[in-house]
């Protein structure tokens, strides 16, 4: 291969390499977006918008940030503390698995409902759905 041929190959390769870089960026980004939220403490792509706070002391319309695995209950050890009498100490868990949300009821006294339907063990939740913990009502909203 002569020098000229090498130069021709080289300059084609250069531009191709830039495209490969871009593609790699995109792939890695996609991977990270899916993986990142799986780490429990990391910020999840959603908030809980308070609808009916009752005695929790929160305001209607207030946004509660969610992490990948948010524990919800009356006890102060929870990620999200709802101090309403009808909320159990460890009431539920709201989980972002990278692709979707799942709400898990932890055997609460007054139950957890999604769009009015009672949650037996775990149930998928979509953005826009209304979730009730006891009587406290909130909506899952995007960031």
């Amino acid at each position: 291969m002569s020098v000229d041929d090498a130069l021709l190959v080289g300059r084609i390769a250069f531009v191709v390499a830039l495209y490969l870089f871009l593609i790699l960026l995109a792939l890695l980004l996609r991977r990270e977006l899916l993986a990142r939220a799986a780490q429990p403490g990391e910020r999840a792509p959603g908030d809980l918008l308070v609808v009916d706070p009752f005695e929790t002391g929160l305001e209607p319309g207030e946004r509660i940030p969610l992490i990948a695995l948010s524990s919800i209950g009356r006890s102060n050890e929870n990620d999200i503390v709802l101090s309403d009498t009808f909320v159990s100490a460890e009431h539920a868990k709201l989980h972002w698995n990278g692709r979707g949300w799942v709400v898990e009821d932890l055997g609460s006294t007054n139950g957890t409902r999604v769009n009015g339907k009672p949650v037996r063990r775990a149930m998928p939740v979509k953005v826009g759905d209304t979730v009730e913990f006891g009587r406290v009502k909130a909506r899952l909203v995007p960031l």
Binding site: L7, L8, G10, R11, V15, F21, L25, R43, P65
Partner: protein, 418 residues
Amino acid sequence: MELVLLLLAGVIVLSGFALLSAVRWRHVAPADLKYPAVYVASTFVLSLWNGRFAPRADQFILPVVAILTGVGILVVTRLDAGLGHKQVVWTLLGEAVAGVVMAAPRSVNTLRLYKYTWAFVGLLLIVLTILGGTDINGSGYRRWIGLHGVYFQPVELLKPMIAVFFAAYLDEKRELLAGAHLEVGRLRLPPFQYLAPLVAVWGLSLLLLIRQNDLGSALLFLGIFLAMIYVGTSRAVYPITGLTMFGLGTFVAFHIFPHVRERTEVWLDPFAHNATQGYQLVQGLIALAVGGIGGQGIGQGDPSRVPIVTTDFILSAIGEELGLAGIVVLLALLLFLIFRGLALAVEAQDGFQKLLAAGLIAILAIQTIVIVGGTTRLMPLTGVPLPFLSYGGSSALANFMIVGLLFKISTEAREVRL
């Protein structure tokens, strides 16, 4: 992962320089790789620093910035090796600034406390250029200050400073602007009075820029203003009013300033003026055409035929030697950066930080649009630097400052907050 991407970026950039060297000497001359190697090494240093002081920050921004800056230095070196070396030096300085910014212990929000200070300092610098500035490239206007061969353009620093000011102000007055009304007689108008200080600062900067005939930066400031108001208030009335005023302003400017009229005429039919004012634009378009899809190859075209190719018309040089393929991938990389920045803005918790991130990204995005649009005849040509790609020391400094701020915002956004 950031390191892996940086490694790839570094390899690509170095290969580009090797290619350039081979085109010139028929073999790769190690001397030609000295400055690029230093630059690539500095990106790794910055990444390690980044890992220490902002470990949770976004991992994609630095590699993209690194490769864009690298390609920019490559093209500038190809056009003028001296400028290329200078660009490496300025870049290293910028990286240092970014490092300082991202390692600063206090929150980004400290900036908002000094918003008027930043605005004032920035405007003062512009005033300095009016009073005692130098004109280093014969554009006819003195936009630089400096001495002993080291010059910088204050307007580049003013851009992020103004973004800080806007972000701080808009965040404070957000509810007012979004909700309240202004009663004029029996009309209920949006509360423009709360905008007054904002508009005052903005208007002052515009006037100074127009005084210095820096129409590109004036246009950019208008764009940032509109973008940030839109993001901050969700009320369409503000951008609409702003655009109307812009329309009126352009109309007036067209009739008052012969310069504006000239630029518009050249934009409408550059080929009719191909020997006079339109020469630069026509040559730029010819250079793009010569590049075709695949380009002539780095170092193998004739891009210096376009006047002022290292700054305003860097896109023509890229188009001629790297082709449409090159331009598309570089624009895509810029767009990637912009999207990552906006995603950062979405992730941020704090209103000021959201606005600031959006504003800083708007600076990069709008500059790209203005200069690419101008050199490809989508709009009248005004001179702003193409971020990371065109030659410009102050531009590099400011852009890396923006990068540093974005890292800071990213770190704070990802701190676990409950």
